[in-house]
């Protein structure tokens, strides 16, 4: 086969994939990049306003509240997810009866739709006729139930639901990392008289370092970007208590008027600028984490 035919064949095979990626993956990013300098509400003509959208962001307290909420949400989720996932992985890595079954159980939430589980958790945590509160009242554990989705506890509930769906995933990534630690390191350490907990502290943790760094990085990014379950569970409410960055962003493009929400009109130009700032915030946090964890490695 000659060269031209060869190349033609290659391009014809790669064409569908490349076209879809360019049109539906790359173009939308370029679109947002352009409109962040415009005043554009989705209809009429777009008006170039330079950096006006960005100075508006600086004064947008709703946005900054959502940034704070995002940090609380991501921090809370990580604080529960990472230690628990690591602990489960460490336990299930070594010879324990029934570990295959337990792994399967812990990983199960990851295959179920986030949105569907959010609906189910809504019926469980619902303050007035939720299953959990009815159970608490009937069994005498609480007089009037807990206002799970009220201003005080909504964020906690949202974090718990998110952790429920994520632990299994990180457990599995940790397990993959643990499997790369050679068995004889454990044998040597137990000959030296190290107990299970000492082994975990002095063998497992240090050797898992690079994997841990990667997994935590992934977890940070996913947590900062997550909003699907919050959207279904609380819509960002009550009174904006669970409004996170990307949910606020979504509402600028698709105003729904639910939750606290506050966004009534479509704001494509402003939304694009908010998207850019949000992406920069996520990127900055990842960078800070990246350098901090690298320095920690060096001092070890």
């Amino acid at each position: 086969m000659n060269k031209t035919k060869h190349a033609l064949f290659s391009y014809s095979f790669i064409f569908p994939s490349a076209l879809l990626t360019l049109v539906l993956g790359i173009y939308p990013i370029a679109w947002a990049f352009r409109y962040m300098f415009y005043d554009y509400k989705g209809f009429g003509t777009a008006r170039f306003t330079g950096l006006a959208n960005f100075s508006r962001i600086l004064k947008d307290t709703q946005f900054w509240d959502s940034v704070v909420n995002t940090f609380v949400y991501a921090g809370g989720k990580l604080l529960i997810t990472i230690p628990l996932a690591l602990l489960l992985a460490a336990i299930l890595n070594r010879g324990l009866r029934g570990r295959q079954l337990l792994r399967g159980i812990f990983f199960m939430p990851t295959v179920i739709s986030t949105a569907v589980m959010a609906v189910v958790f809504f019926t469980i945590f619902n303050s007035y006729n939720g299953i959990l509160n009815q159970f608490l009242i009937r069994s005498g554990l609480s007089d009037s139930g807990v206002d799970w989705l009220g201003p005080k506890y909504a964020m906690l509930t949202v974090i718990l639901v998110a952790a429920w769906g994520a632990v299994g995933n990180y457990m599995l990534l940790f397990l993959a990392g643990l499997q790369n630690i050679p068995e004889d390191v454990y044998e040597a350490s137990s000959l030296d008289g190290a107990g299970k907990i000492q082994q975990f502290r002095y063998v497992t943790l240090p050797m898992l370092g690079p994997v841990m760094q990667m997994v935590i990085m992934l977890a940070i990014i996913t947590a900062l970007k997550g909003y699907e379950s919050i959207m279904v569970l609380t819509e960002g409410g009550p009174v904006g208590k669970t409004e996170v960055m990307f949910l606020y962003l979504y509402k600028l493009f698709f105003p729904v008027g639910g939750g606290s929400a506050a966004v009534q009109v479509q704001e494509f130009g402003y939304g694009s600028a908010v998207a850019f700032v949000s992406a920069v915030i996520v990127g900055m946090i990842s960078l800070i984490y990246f350098y901090a964890s690298r320095r920690m490695n060096q001092t070890d």
């Binding site: 812990f106 189910v120 698709f254």
Partner: protein, 278 residues
């Protein structure tokens, strides 16, 4: 020492069983709840249903329109799986086996789309694009966008492709087989396991997808998928009186993926690093 290890084991198992219980209980509540009456559900007093109301499913199927939603979910998921596998296996084949200008650029493009997901913001331009192409009035818009996000499947198939010996293509070429025929007749059948894993992940993603179908069906309820229809029940005027439908609907959407998971547990567990959910 003996006593300490036994005590340690007991604590360990209490911990493991507690976590397992918390993991399983919401799903169990859903399954059992789908057979209860609404009153029984919201009273929250029983664990097992007082009597098993299989009719919940029939009613959710017809009254809450879940037959329509299930059909839509199936169309979206199956079309997405077929499209994704076709598009990414063709690309993986030429990227692995052929040399052409722009190959590096293509790989860079795919890695870029995999790691830079801007979520909410790309939904809008994607939607407007589909309006311009007149595809927003059908499920094709959703399907095409889902197929376009095939980068991770491309990389999975790419690594499987490397495992198929090149001697086979060369032999086929000598026998007068064109590259296209080699792909269909030799490579695709040998790519079976890779395609299986790819299908599994794509199906899971498409079946569970919420935001895309939500955006595309805001004005067209007859196109809603299970996830969207179910979440909408929550916003219904009589949401409180429909909890049993919600549970039955949740089961309809959870069970297929759960069954697939039980059968393909191993592949899910091994290849999960390719999917970035969590």
């Amino acid at each position: 020492m003996r006593l300490r290890t036994i005590l340690g084991k007991i604590i360990l198992w209490i911990f493991l069983l507690a976590v397992a219980f918390i993991t399983v209980i919401p799903v169990v509540i859903t399954i059992l709840g789908s057979f209860k009456t609404n009153a029984e559900l919201t009273a929250g007093a029983t664990f097992l249903p007082e009597s098993w109301h299989f009719s919940n499913y029939a009613e959710a199927w017809s009254q809450a329109n879940f037959s329509r939603y299930t059909l839509n979910s199936l169309i979206v998921s199956l079309a997405t799986v077929a499209g994704t596998l076709l598009v990414s296996s063709m690309a993986a084949y030429v990227v692995d086996r052929m040399d052409f200008a722009g190959k590096k650029l293509y790989i860079g493009l795919q890695s870029f789309t995999m790691f830079v997901a801007v979520g909410a913001v790309v939904l809008r331009p994607q939607f407007d694009l589909m309006v311009k192409l007149h595809l927003h009035n059908s499920l094709w818009g959703v399907i095409l966008i889902l197929i376009s996000a095939h980068a991770s499947i491309f990389f999975i198939l790419f690594s499987f492709m490397k495992g198929i010996p090149r001697e086979l293509d060369e032999a086929a070429l000598i026998d007068g087989c064109s590259p296209g025929r080699t792909f269909w007749r030799i490579i695709l059948p040998l790519l079976g396991p890779g395609l299986g894993v790819g299908a599994l992940f794509t199906f899971r993603g498409a079946w569970n997808e919420y935001l895309l179908p939500l955006v595309f069906t805001m004005t067209k309820p007859e196109l809603q998928t299970l996830t969207v229809g179910l979440a909408n029940l929550k916003y219904g005027i009589s949401a409180a009186s429909q909890t049993h439908y919600m549970m039955a609907g949740a089961c309809l959407s959870i069970l297929p993926i759960l069954v697939a998971y039980l059968f393909a547990n191993k592949s899910f567990m091994q290849m999960t690093a390719g999917s970035l959910k969590g």
